[in-house]
Point group: C2
Chain length 403, copies 2
């Protein structure tokens, strides 16, 4: 799949979208904690959700509303995940969509809702309802940037981008924003990603494209292996670019999917790079696998290995930990055919140590983006996975949040 | 299964065994790094090995020798794992058994070999062969304690124990020693466990008993989720207690298995407690599961969660991370029926937060042994898993070993 370049932009880059971000007081006063994305016209919608058996209330409400038809808005809050709140959580999530619908003068079923933050604590609904009022008046065609900051939790930087693709002679734009798997007081990682596009595309194809893009992006990153109750990726397609509608698979669908995939990978890498306490992005490329599943398993095992993540933090050319991780990954391969590279330095050949330059390998590990390549010599499939190093700060952030 | 008490003792506690530990110079001069266990008479042998696809040479040689019949000796070295050394690794491992056989005047096929330490580096065979000579002369009926120290890597304390069980009116003893999953320069965790017993038991039943005991002990601990290329648990049964031979399943077999299981759990917990950088032992009990597999999956997911391990280090009563971990564990359960306890403090009921005392929960987390209980209210099966907290020192040990 040929991936187009991702450039600066956000969810209000495509035509026909407005965005807003405000401080509702869910987090500390003055800290942005609520965002709203609105499409001027009903938009085809698709979403993917966490596989965690414990799913937050907003996910259930959003699933129902997407099943009911097109969406016009997405309301998001940070600071409270509205998870493990039982029946009350569902009531509160529904009320967020009802209030947003009132403010925008639309049907509540046209509103999706997402939350991230503390779990097991009731939502501060007074602040949230007042926040939704403020969001309505704050909507702007340039609101995508502030919206991207309003969904941040322990993220250090907002994560946005856009990509363009020509459909039937017309340029359509996909904009996106994501928040990372930084853990938030007092609870767990949440990954949220929101996309907007002015392309016209059938909902089932939009769903298929989103699912495909997620499989090679968000599903291939790991900060600490934990999977949250609130993860969600959602896309709205409003057709405002005036390009012909993508109603069947083919060149246009493939081009759109490639563009969405490029943006998803860019945002996913931004999440990994911004993992809590991380000082480096680790990219693991597994090549020469017998199947794509083998390549993915092997790549994920390496980016998930606490041993290897610690070694990267310490600039320790510890290729043995790579061998070990692919060994227990469940991937099929022949240990005696494996080559391992740290950056451009080959450290192992046919499963055995090479007498490589420690200095060069250490240099490769000192980069902001550390690339590990594993060649299995076992087939034609490959996969990439992204993660970050394991540092003192990761432990500090997750152990000492109270202090 | 009723488990008998584990008391002080080691691999030379059972009748008819001798042990030795010496400093062969594989590690720093004067540091114990080779051990030998010898049975006066041929002993039935059984072993379980790492599931890692990358398996160290000694494992392959030991498998062959156990398949060939009874064993009389086990030679072990620390400081070099003899993994990822290709054909040369196999030759070196075989030579270790040949040399040990020469020294003891026995058949090389009666010798098992195990290694732990650096991978991808050739074995220092001169030192090792000289070390085996020294081991022969150092053998003693009281050598079990020094042997247990000679297999340590980054372990802070030796791990030994013994348990007694009456078979046909005669008391038989099982002694054991293990080394933990401390990571060693520059490579990965290795778990080694060696048992001796003066019971008489058919090899196939010995294998079955060992496998059963490992499933609820070593297979239920996690220090950092990594699985080594060198893990091995091995048992020798020489019949010297003069008890009737256990040749079929039944009360005697069950009693023997319970005793071996009690010792295995004790040694496994000692390994978790001594995990690198660990300040606490975490015991996770999952009860009320629909199946044993569900209970095990849920328990392991919690002890493996970096988020929860960090929270325990920080005395953070972060029950939401427990909910999250069981949620992605793959276990089947109803999130709305889950109760969570930190120590004796119930923090969640039917999947929702309770208004518990933070002070009491924090106190429970400050203990040296933190017990987390998850009640699924979904069936009659339960499981326990053990791990340790994630600390700055874990990262330090695995990142900065060079400094």
């Amino acid at each position: 799949m040929q991936l187009p370049p991702v450039v600066q932009g956000n969810v209000t880059s495509p035509a026909g979208f407005q965005g807003a971000g405000i401080a509702a007081g869910i987090k500390k006063p003055g800290i942005l904690d609520m965002a709203l994305i609105v499409s001027e016209v009903p938009a085809a919608a698709a979403a993917v959700y966490t596989t965690n058996k414990v799913q937050a209330a907003p996910l259930q409400v959003t699933k129902e509303h997407i099943a009911a038809g097109p969406l016009k808005a997405v309301v998001v809050n940070a600071g409270n995940a509205n998870a493990c709140n039982g029946e009350r959580g569902l009531v509160d999530a529904r009320q967020m969509t009802v209030k947003t619908a009132e403010v925008l003068g639309i049907d509540a079923q046209a509103v999706a809702v997402a939350s991230t933050g503390v779990i097991g604590q009731p939502m501060p609904m007074e602040k949230i309802l007042a926040g939704i009022d403020s969001l309505g008046c704050a909507l702007s065609p340039d609101g995508g940037e502030v919206a991207s900051r309003a969904i941040m939790t322990t993220d250090l930087v907002p994560k946005t981008g856009k990509v363009e693709v020509v459909i039937g002679g017309k340029t359509v734009t996909i904009g996106g924003m994501a928040k990372g798997s930084g853990m938030i007081h007092p609870n767990m990682a949440t990954m949220l990603a929101f996309y907007t596009t002015d392309a016209a595309i059938a909902p089932e194809l939009l769903q298929k494209a989103l699912t495909r893009s997620v499989q090679v992006s968000y599903n291939m990153i790991s900060v600490d292996g934990d999977t949250s109750t609130n993860d969600m990726a959602l896309i709205l397609a409003n057709g405002c670019a005036g390009a012909p509608s993508i109603d069947s698979e083919g060149a246009d669908y493939e081009a759109f999917t490639a563009a969405l995939t490029a943006l998803s990978i860019e945002l996913a890498k931004a999440i990994a790079r911004d993992g809590e306490g991380a000082t480096k992005l680790i990219e693991v490329r597994v090549e020469g696998a017998a199947t794509e599943a083998d390549a993915k398993k092997a790549a994920m095992a390496v980016v998930k290995s606490s041993l290897f993540k610690s070694a990267v933090f310490g600039n320790d050319a510890n290729w043995g930990r790579v061998m070990c991780a692919i060994g227990y990954s469940g991937a099929n391969f022949d240990p005696n055919k494996v080559d391992v590279y740290l950056g451009s330095v080959q450290t192992a050949k046919q499963g055995m140590a090479l007498n490589f330059s420690e200095a060069e390998a250490t240099e490769a590990l000192k980069q902001k983006e550390v690339v590990v390549t594993v060649q299995l010599h076992d087939g034609d499939f490959s996969a990439a996975a992204w993660g970050c190093d394991l540092t003192y700060d990761y432990v500090k952030i997750n152990a000492d949040y109270r202090s």
